[in-house]
């Protein structure tokens, strides 16, 4: 298993945001994480990515215990993520955003830059440019904050990919995308998985989840209430009641 969560829990005051969740994500999988609003999906992601401190349980990544590691150390080990709602560096250019994403893979070039003609990051700029091309982002010198929302989402994915991750966590990547963009995202995920990447996908768009994931876990009130293949999940009465039922009501 690439990522193993073993009984991880997080409380906020009296609320069990995440309660004793076990997850096992195999390499090369697209692993879906679904659940109604407030089910604890994003909290779970924040625990895995090190942005929140875990109260109980353990997380293993690629065989090593990473439970207490800070976000930057996890990125260095190969976990990259995007955020629910976009968190770009809006005042930086599109290209700069991707270059910051490569931070974990770049050696500090401060000293080499003191030489007037030095451009030690030429290779990194090239690979950042290729990533932008792949994601269909055309204006590398535009400020990230000026991009349309769908482009911002794709830029965030490009930035995450720039760290050359083994595991990519996408927190509602299709939110705000039109059906065409959403279809392109599905294509991209397929291509990335074919290249050996593992993806954890948190998503409201049930069609996207069911169409791309090999396994799906369902959270409700911080607990994992079901896990299985998309077909099993869709057939499960518990899930229907907790999630799909509420989806119908909405």
């Amino acid at each position: 298993m690439l990522l193993e969560c073993d009984g991880i829990s997080k409380r906020f005051g009296g609320v069990h945001a995440v309660a004793e969740v076990d997850l096992a994500v195999a390499p090369g999988q697209v692993f879906g994480l679904i659940g109604p609003n407030g089910a604890g999906k994003t909290t779970l992601v924040n625990l895995i990515s090190g942005h929140l401190r875990i109260d109980a349980g353990a997380i293993r990544f690629a065989g090593a215990d990473v439970t207490r590691l800070a976000p930057h150390a996890l990125t260095a080990r190969g976990i990259a993520r995007t955020f629910q709602g976009v968190r770009l560096f809006k005042g930086l250019t599109v290209l700069e955003n991707v270059l910051v994403g490569r931070h974990a893979r770049m050696r500090s070039d401060v000293l080499r830059r003191l030489w007037p003609r030095g451009a030690p990051d030429r290779r990194d700029r090239e690979s950042a440019g290729l990533l932008l091309e792949r994601l269909g982002l055309k204006r590398p010198q535009a400020l990230a904050g000026e991009l349309a929302y769908g482009d911002q989402r794709r830029l965030e994915i490009a930035r995450a990919l720039a760290s050359e991750p083994r595991l990519l966590i996408l927190d509602e990547p299709a939110a705000g995308m039109n059906p065409a963009e959403s279809a392109r995202l599905r294509e991209l995920m397929r291509a990335l998985v074919a290249e050996g990447l593992t993806i954890v996908l948190i998503e409201h768009d049930v069609r996207l989840v069911m169409g791309t994931c090999e396994r799906v876990a369902v959270l409700n009130f911080g607990r994992k209430i079901a896990e299985g293949t998309p077909v099993e999940i869709q057939a499960s009465p518990i899930v229907r009641e907790a999630y799909l039922g509420s989806e119908d009501a909405a």
């Binding site: 930057h72 955020f83 770009l88 931070h103 500090s108």
Partner: protein, 290 residues
């Protein structure tokens, strides 16, 4: 050439002070660039000023070495201080660094070797204008190059969004600390130069007012680029001289100009050039007004 020589001779002190203020403005710019509001730079300046002056006068340490040791001492003190205060953010961080400034000021008033309230007098005037301006050129160049480096981008990322920056593999604490320590060393360097320019120093020179002044130079000049703090320090230091014909009203006008700049150019004087472009873009509805 003669006219220039005459100008430099008449305004020698002001020209020197402008250069020192520009160095100080750059010292606070480093932390501002990383998105951190700190107000301890007057205290770090004091450490450099007293350090260089005392080492030279009491121990006969050569002037350049005194400058280096003063900056080193300042950086050494900034390290543990930074570890403590960077648990805080925004206005809380600013207040904590003001507290540090007060501690340094009171220490200068009470320690047995700092001359208490009288300060130090008869500091040999060893600082030449070219020392100041060579320092300024080197510092400005280095900071300009750092902006485009991994470190500069990491600082900018922290400023833009700390949580997202951590997710890109940036060790937030370490980068904030590096900015803080670099700023402290630079402020102390400027302090050492100013002590040997002015020939007397006292604790009151390095109080809260001074800290705010340094911040104002950087913010009025503009923090997007290295040129901003230099421009801000130059104009605001020269302003009293320029406004001299207004006599007793000149401080009022200096204040009004300051208000005008902050209201109409909130990102600083360096954005003056950008402004026209933005206006045009706004007219055709292409620019984000925010």
């Amino acid at each position: 050439m003669d006219a220039l020589g005459e100008f430099v001779r008449v305004y020698q002190t002001t020209i020197g002070v402008i250069g020192i203020n520009a160095l100080l403005a750059l010292s606070v710019w480093i932390t501002l660039y990383a998105g951190q509001l700190t107000l301890g730079n007057a205290a770090f300046m004091a450490i450099g000023a007293y350090g260089a002056a005392l080492l030279g006068m009491r121990l006969g340490v050569p002037f350049p070495l005194g400058l280096v040791l003063g900056a080193g001492l300042s950086a050494t003190l900034a390290l543990p201080l930074g570890l403590a205060v960077f648990r805080l953010r925004g206005v809380y961080l600013a207040i904590a660094t003001i507290g540090f400034g007060e501690v340094v000021r009171v220490l200068l008033l009470t320690l047995p070797f700092t001359g208490k309230a009288l300060g130090l007098n008869g500091i040999p005037p060893l600082t030449e204008l070219w020392h100041i301006y060579l320092s300024l050129v080197v510092v400005a160049y280095v900071l300009w190059r750092v902006q485009g480096s991994t470190v500069g981008r990491a600082w900018a990322a922290i400023r833009e969004d700390e949580i997202a920056a951590a997710s890109q593999g940036i060790a937030i604490r370490r980068y904030k600390l590096a900015a803080f320590v670099a700023g402290a060393a630079l402020a102390a360097w400027a302090g050492g130069l100013s002590a040997h320019l002015n020939f007397s120093i006292e604790p009151g020179d390095f109080g809260f007012t001074r800290a705010v002044q340094i911040l104002v130079y950087a913010v009025v000049g503009g923090t997007p680029s290295v040129a901003g703090p230099i421009l801000g320090a130059t104009l605001l230091t020269a302003l009293p001289e320029i406004l001299r014909p207004l006599r007793e009203y000149r401080d009022i006008f200096a204040g009004l100009i300051l208000m005008g700049v902050i209201i109409y150019l909130p990102r600083g004087l360096v954005t003056l050039a950008e402004l026209r472009k933005t206006r045009r873009l706004q007219e055709i509805g292409a620019a984000d007004v925010a």
